[in-house]
Symmetry: C2
Subunit: 385 residues, 2 copies
């Protein structure tokens, strides 16, 4: 190789979940060296990524060893503890997004405080430690109140909607027992939920995707319609601008997902994620540049790709596991019924309620697309048979 | 797992080139187990496929060992010798396409004989062993004559255009020395070259893609325009029907690429390939179902996906290596200039003239798309700088 020959960059993704799996698909085309640090050999990404390292994806020694083979380290999840991230940066590891950006995706109290400081629209909120804090907050915001773990949670849960002081005290007590800090948020009277994806590179280039509608049931994202049907154009533009402003203000590098509540007055920010996000899976089949390719371009400081939608509408539905694990047997019928449907499996063992894949359809009529995507997801789940 | 739970099928692809690499991308979404048998760890596919086995991809013992982990074995190339294929089938290995189909892609004499039998349009041709055979053929078909190695070739070449008997005798002598059988073909006065991709499943389902124009220079495919601009609709339909008839008649399973010459009178068949093919790379970004996904669906006897083009036109240009290997340095500028351009790198070391990747653009104006794709390919090659 000549001296001027820049080596192909190496990106390492921490975590072996489906986001890393789908990022690998994008990395193959880009021709970058892509590796993952996975906890087990049967992790979704470990099944398909040649450069998989096994290790504890939250432990400093394993992360340090993994980082040695990477020009840039990025994340499939936000669970690496802040002190570990700090130690990695002190060791010279290039984290994208950086620790100082990631903490806003890791700690909801920090996120709310910073967003409030920036004047971003938020629900009413406050940190709560005692039942008096909660009842005082409810005095202004009204019951029910949404209690959230600032980070982590307990019993696998991090959000509780409480109707009164009795309900709240149960959550407070168990949170205190688990050492979990809580915040209270107003329950927003939203008309629907929206999300915006934006990519930002270290150079400061941004690329924003169309605003999408996300359909949640039982706290799980079931469907995404891109773009959000009937969304006022000016409101959509303002939501995109908000996402761009947040990406710059929080100095995000990579993908930022901004989950929003739409109300009669406008939008308020619900959650942030600094990585490819479920609300952006539609971009694999529905956009010129997928969120996974965009994330890689951004963390490598490559020029960003066009976020243009390739069809009028794209609908994505998550595939949740049911009680019958024979997905492959049902898969054939779904393929035969709808040759335009794109199926994405994550290589995960089927467990009831677990996200095991998603399907996408692109076309002109969002109601028809939604019906087809839902039909496929329900059939694959298998419970209605 | 319940007894009714069908296991996820395993497909093994023989050969670690870019076709296997891109098939892996499609296999990740389908959620099938995909492995490759590659000659070296730096083969294009071996760099990215977790389930890579290293071995000689033309040797029976290595192929038998590889086949043990596969429900179905398919191919990245047609170089596995016929006796090896026969031994694999005798051992119970499921080859798709089968040995009896593959031989028409491996041996041009067999292919021409079978196509002639089927009444498919071919250039005039005959097997030639002596200079008398060639001059007799030229007496009817005229000079120059195209001489082709029935399989393999020598000096890395398999096609020679000879102007007279002297030229022909040089080729005949060297072919005889190398033990290579030859055929003579009429040089077709074509107006342009076309190609059709069709997938066929064991069940007999077929899916045919739009007829494309392929632009060759120095015997190398440089660009593909999908669909072929200005192609008479009836002629396009007949070319698609021809591809379907050949897929059925030759009992192809998987992708079949039919390369055609277009003449003032119609089309004649130039070459066949029974695998994903360079003339179908446009389908990754330009069709609802890529040829790679379609190949996997076909060899697994899954229902085929829609071959519908997602835009009005898609143009693909191959990236050939130049003298300066710093592709990555130039890559950034290409990305910045054209955010809609999709770049696909094969992870190959740059060598002059070697196919190291391809680019694709989708849009409405094929002349504009061709200019952009060419511009990117030439800039990435680097020689004009």
């Amino acid at each position: 190789m000549s001296e001027s020959n820049r080596p192909v960059p190496s990106v390492g993704m921490v975590g072996g979940g489906q986001l890393a799996r789908m990022t690998h698909q994008a990395g193959i085309g880009l021709g970058v060296n892509f590796g993952v640090l996975a906890n087990t050999a049967t992790d979704s990404a470990a099944l398909v990524v040649a450069a998989t390292q096994l290790g504890d994806d939250r432990a400093l020694p394993d992360l340090l060893a993994f980082a040695k083979s990477c020009d840039v380290v990025t994340f499939d999840h936000e669970h690496v503890p802040e002190p570990v991230l700090r130690a990695l940066e002190e060791d010279g590891v290039v984290l994208r997004p950086s620790r100082s950006a990631l903490r806003y995706a890791q700690d909801k109290l920090l996120m709310r405080a910073r967003l409030t400081e920036l004047g971003a629209p938020c629900p009413r909120w406050r940190a709560v430690a005692t039942i008096e804090d909660v009842t005082e907050f409810a005095g202004g915001a009204g019951w029910p109140v949404v209690l959230k773990a600032a980070s982590g949670g307990y019993d696998g849960k991090g959000v509780w909607v409480v109707d009164d002081a009795d309900d709240a005290s149960v959550v407070l007590r168990r949170a205190a027992d688990s050492g979990v800090a809580l915040l209270a948020e107003e329950r927003v009277a939203f008309t629907r939920e929206l999300a915006v994806q934006v990519a930002r590179s270290p150079y400061g280039q941004v690329a924003v995707y169309p605003v999408v509608e996300t359909v949640q049931r039982d706290g799980i994202c079931h469907e995404v319609i891109a773009p959000a049907p009937g969304l006022d154009e000016e409101r959509a533009g303002r939501a995109q601008e908000l996402a761009i402003e947040l990406a710059h203000a929080l100095e995000v590098v990579g993908m930022l997902a901004v989950e929003l509540f739409e109300t009669t007055d406008g939008v308020v920010v619900n959650e942030l994620a600094m990585r490819p996000h479920n609300s952006g899976h539609w971009t694999i089949d529905g956009a010129c540049t997928s969120q996974f390719e965009q994330h890689l371009r951004a963390v490598l400081d490559l020029p960003l790709g066009s976020p243009r939608a390739v069809g009028r509408y794209t609908v994505m539905a998550n595939l949740l596991g049911g009680t019958d694990p024979d997905v492959h047997g049902r898969y054939i019928h779904v393929m035969a019924k709808d040759p335009e449907l794109k199926v994405h499996f994550y290589g995960k063992e089927v467990r009831p309620g677990r996200k095991i894949g998603h399907v996408t359809v692109v076309g002109d009529d969002h109601a028809d697309l939604l019906a087809r995507a839902r039909d496929a997801a329900e059939y694959l789940k298998g419970d209605q048979q």
